[in-house]
């Protein structure tokens, strides 16, 4: 059974037009498809080729191409191979189809991607806030999000107090062996 599926994938799927098929190694296959054929491919892999486990959906923001790349990682327990199905969707308007009807765990991954990248999945059961419940800014994992600027605007930082260290040293604490001394000693010990 398992061998025939691999052969079928290698020989038949690889020849289908519109599917970029690459065998990366014995247990890894990469497929590149257009965004409108991806649900069909997933349905085929799940229904006909034993890829029943969706381990993750990852999202990559390719800001120069103005596209999001979605990677669906599928695992088969029968022939122990991982299929990574890659697809690309435009960044705007940022709407894509949910695969919740094919794989139920997709609901969590899609909700997470919606929160972190702002990509909306049509047909997903819940697109509410997930982890960042207090978040009021733009989606933080987008490449155009300036995390450092956000932090500088939103939070205050502690001032530097050199007198604290002095107070520690007066009490007999502080740095016992200075790093430059350690380095000098190492240099001296070298033959």
């Amino acid at each position: 059974m398992s061998k025939s599926i691999v052969k079928w994938l290698d020989n038949i799927i690889a020849d289908v037009e519109g599917v970029g098929y690459q065998r990366k190694s014995d247990r890894r296959i990469r497929m590149d498809v257009a965004s409108d054929t991806l649900p069909t491919l997933l349905e085929l892999l799940r229904g006909r080729a034993s890829y029943v486990h969706l381990s993750a959906i990852t999202c990559v923001d390719w800001i120069e191409d103005d596209e999001f790349e979605l990677v669906y990682h599928l695992w088969s327990y029968e022939n122990n191979t991982l299929v990574s199905a890659h697809t690309r969707v435009p960044r705007s308007p940022g709407v894509y189809l949910s695969v919740y009807d094919i794989y139920h765990p997709a609901a969590f991954f899609e909700r997470d991607i919606h929160e972190m990248f702002g990509l909306y999945f049509e047909g997903s059961p819940d697109m509410e806030r997930f982890i960042l419940t207090e978040w009021d800014g733009p989606p933080p994992m987008r490449k155009d999000f300036d995390a450092e600027g956000w932090v500088q605007r939103k939070f205050n930082f502690q001032d530097y107090h050199p007198e604290w260290l002095k107070q520690l040293e007066d009490e007999g604490g502080g740095v016992a062996i200075r790093p430059e001394e350690v380095r000098a000693k190492k240099r001296a010990d070298k033959p």
């Binding site: 960042l132 939103k154 939070f155 930082f157």
Partner: protein
């Protein structure tokens, strides 16, 4: 259910709060000494610093010989240990925990992350200065501090309690408006906790000019009255074979 009116509540402090007993200060000193020798700590393990606490508490370094013990509930704890980075979502829970603790209470921030954000200084999700949101008595810096450093810090805290210097919990009541303002800056204007801090401050006679202000006014504006939680129990009920639907 117990009616709310059945619970005796002391609304007003009767009599003069000024103390007349000449031995009051001696007694205070004794109380502070005893307090510093029996500390129960609630370690809110938010980050990696928590990993240094088991060796500090167990036989290798044995913090219990100093009278410090872990406690399981905030209502019986004296010290709130915040070990490591504090994300904005976690900070809400820390504030809820802190307000449940009974006074006097002390907050200890362990690791660099509580001081200044640490290695997560440019993360959008973590709060940087813990002392903006809670009155921190002591910071133990380090990434992570070794158990020796934790014990050294605890000894400092004990000395501060004994000398009466560790009184930052009063600062939370005196300057509640400042702390609440910073909390509202992160959580939004409708942020509220079930604890009536202003009422507690008045009860402890700690209310000052900084207790109320524009932020507490905002709190009152959004405050919803607390509702009793209703629980439903199904005891001795038999489910008919016909209607086995729902949560069965």
């Amino acid at each position: 259910m117990t009616e709310n009116t059945d619970i005796p509540v002391m609304l007003e402090r009767d009599g003069d709060p000024k103390r007349t007993n000449p031995l009051a200060h001696v007694f205070d000193e004794l109380v502070r000494f005893c307090r510093s020798r029996s500390l129960f700590m609630l370690h809110y393990c938010t980050g990696c610093g928590a990993i240094e606490l088991p060796p500090a508490m167990t036989s290798r370094f044995d913090m219990e010989r100093l009278g410090i013990q872990p406690m399981v509930t905030p209502r019986q704890a004296d010290i709130l240990l915040v070990t490591g980075y504090v994300s904005v979502k976690t900070l809400k829970r820390i504030i809820l925990t802190y307000e449940q603790m009974s006074s006097p209470k002390y907050v200890v921030g362990i690791c660099s992350c509580t001081v200044n954000g640490g290695m997560y200084w440019q993360s959008y999700a973590t709060a940087k200065k813990l002392d903006e949101y809670l009155p921190v008595d002591l910071y133990i810096a380090g990434c992570m501090p070794r158990p020796e450093a934790v014990i050294e810090g605890m000894k400092k805290l004990m000395a501060d309690i004994k000398s009466g210097k560790a009184s930052n919990w009063q600062d939370y009541y005196r300057n509640y408006d400042y702390y609440l303002g910073n909390q509202q800056h992160l959580f939004g204007d409708n942020w509220q906790t079930p604890t009536d801090v202003v009422g507690e401050a008045r009860n402890y006679a700690l209310a000052g000019p900084g207790t109320t202000g524009e932020h507490t006014a905002l709190l009152e504006q959004y405050q919803r009255p607390l509702e009793p939680i209703t629980s439903h129990f199904r005891i001795g009920e038999t489910v008919e074979p016909g209607d086995e639907q729902g949560d069965g």
